[in-house]
Amino acid sequence: MFTRRSFLRTSAAVAATGLAGAAGCGGGGSTSADDGITFLNWDPVEKGTPLANAVRAFQKGSGVKVAIQPAPSSDYDTKLLTIMASGSPPDAIRINDDFVLGYSQQDQLLDLNPYIKRDGLKESDYFEHPFTFPIQSDGRHTAWASGTQPNMVFYNVDAFREAGLPLPPTTWSDENWQWEDFLAAATKLTIPGKRWGVLVFDDTSSETTFTVNNGTDGIYSKDGKRFTLADPASAEGIQWLADLSLKHKVQPPWSTIQAGSGNPNYALSLFATGKVAMMTRNFGAASYLRQNIKDFTWDLAPIPARKSQQTISTLIVWAIPAKAKHPDQAWKLLRSFTDPEGAQELAEQQNLVPASRQAATLLEKAGATPEHLPLVIAATEHGVNENFSPHIQQARAIYRPQLDLIYTGQKSAADALGEVRDRVEQALAGRR
């Protein structure tokens, strides 16, 4: 009879045999410094994914072997920080655009200017924002952006039609698409207990978009020294966002949004199941929506305008660490991501806009979903980014908790942001 005891004994014997073999084996990695380049990134690289295809095409064309080192996006920054600090970085890395400035100021990223000049790459061939973003104040070009993912308004076309509302603009226009129009649409689309009119993304992208469009520099001044979110026009923008929930009741309450924010699909699933009629979101969300929305039509619209009509444009950024062992080959890889073939591979899922203007025309082909997909190209033309500072994390740690007070109606935006202005500016000056 096969008892638990005999099972445990058999298992122990098998384990002991395996152990003898396993103990002597550390299972060394496959790529040494001599037979190719190492490439750290957080995108999926299973066979058939856009990045895997782009890398495969590069290897085939260049003969350079690439050892991909995948790290989960949730813990990527910790891994990058450790390997950069240890002085043995990979040859090419994906890098969060928030941290390009900080690593550049520590001289940890290679200046790509010699390569850009040698290869005769012209700024006019690229969208301005992705091309110029990595240029530092001293002229060094310390990273390479292969594409952008601008924030857009995603909307439920059927819900607009049911409510008898005209559809939002199909070009990057502010005609009938000012903040007041957006609010009026959200109000009509809201069905109490059944559907919210809008859900604005609750991260720093909204803090930039809705302040820049109200005529300010955004969260920080262009030199990264002043906390401009506390300026009256910025505070007005933040208060307007808070009032979508507090005053107009067209957006879920902050407590509900916060409770769901631990789940990365929270907002997307609300939209995909028809519980929200409009949402502002990064264009990267398009893949999820294409996959999961089956019973209504959705489309893209510009971000609503006030004094201007810009949108935050998150960049897909790569870099070569200053201590990389094979910088020449790493540059070839980075450049391949903006060359026609590589850009086409990366843009295949239609959830990013290639940095190269020519490659971006791929998004204009007929029959794509959603119908007005090419709007993202116009969004890239109107893209902005946060004005970064090397001390941005410290600044965020001070001001972002104040947003809870604003969004829950405990304080006005002017008061809550005004009272931390000095502390944030000290943090930005590196004095905290």
Binding site: G26, S30, P72, S88
Partner: protein, 301 residues
């Protein structure tokens, strides 16, 4: 006052049937049954609360992605998507073997070294024993993140980065918790056993191996299960020290299902279900020893 209440209760009891009468016995049984019912209701509610995440995970693993987050939540899929398991298994199986190998190495070697150290601290007399034991415990107070970068540099210098060595060798050679738990277990064994073996001519190692070790099987099971779980669930070590995809482990593979802007929740839950099977089987098989071991080592200092 208490006496008065008790006396009056007795008097009341005498008037309505008294102690041991059929009515009182029936009342007592009803009360006991009611108490038990209440207890079971509470236990069931708690049990359901503990098992609910698991049930949700199973349900989500069989749903299409657009059904995972429906409001109000539905635990069952409309049509079970078994293909999720095929896709998840395809993605995580190579990592599964790496995790299994590391768990095996960690458990086997940690039990060996921790039991040797625990025996030494419990039974052998040598100068500075208490100081050494205190020093050992003190090492557990230093958060790992503090020495992460020096550790990384050291491993790089000895060629261990992008190998499995950092994920088991340092752990099995510094088994603080295991040593502590096994020391406590060894201390519960009567010294006479050891002395009888010594009189029969057993060496110190023979006493450890043939006399003492069989006596602490429950504690070994407890340490083994805990070590297995720690190794099986370790995300940070593989994340930092391993670069190549083919050397990665299950927790990293699960984390890789999380995208920057959204997660394939159904596939992730299918992979998570696959990943909890080995710990679950191990716990079911070893639970008798495990519970015994934790209880035993907690009783005496």
């Amino acid at each position: 006052m208490l006496e008065t209440v008790s006396a009056s209760r007795h008097a009341a009891g005498a008037g309505t049937g008294g102690r041991g009468s059929p009515a009182t016995t029936r009342n007592r049984r009803v009360r006991r049954a009611a108490r038990r019912l209440l207890l079971y209701a509470v236990l069931l509610a708690l049990g359901w609360a503990f098992v609910l995440p698991m049930v949700w995970m199973l349900g989500a693993s069989l749903k299409p992605e657009n059904e995972v987050m429906v409001v109000p939540p539905d635990l069952l899929p409309s049509v079970p998507q078994w293909a999720n398991y095929v896709a998840a298994a395809d993605a995580v199986l190579p990592f599964f073997w790496n995790s299994a190998k590391l768990a095996l190495l960690n458990v086997a070697f940690l039990l060996l070294f921790a039991s040797l150290a625990g025996f030494g601290f419990a039974r052998l007399e040598f100068r500075g024993k208490n100081v050494a034991f205190a020093a050992l415990l003190a090492t557990a107070m230093i958060p790992g993140i503090v020495y992460l970068i020096p550790q990384y540099i050291m491993y790089r210098q000895i060629g261990w980065i992008d190998t499995h060595y950092p994920l088991w060798v340092p752990k099995v050679l510094t088994p603080v918790f295991g040593t502590f738990l096994l020391r406590q277990a060894f201390r519960t064994i009567p010294r006479e056993l050891e002395e009888a073996a010594a009189i029969d001519g057993a060496s110190t190692f023979t006493v450890y191996w043939r006399i003492m070790l069989p006596q602490v099987k429950p504690a070994l099971a407890a340490v083994g299960v805990l070590t297995f779980l720690e190794s099986w669930n370790d995300l940070f070590g593989p994340l930092i020290f391993v670069n190549s995809q083919h050397l990665q482990t299950l927790p990293v593979a699960l984390a890789l299902f999380q995208g920057e802007y959204f997660t394939q929740t159904n596939l992730m839950m299918a992979a998570a279900t696959i990943s909890v099977v080995p710990p679950l089987v191990l716990f079911v098989l070893a639970q008798k020893y495990f519970v015994q071991g934790v209880t035993m080592t907690g009783l005496r200092g």
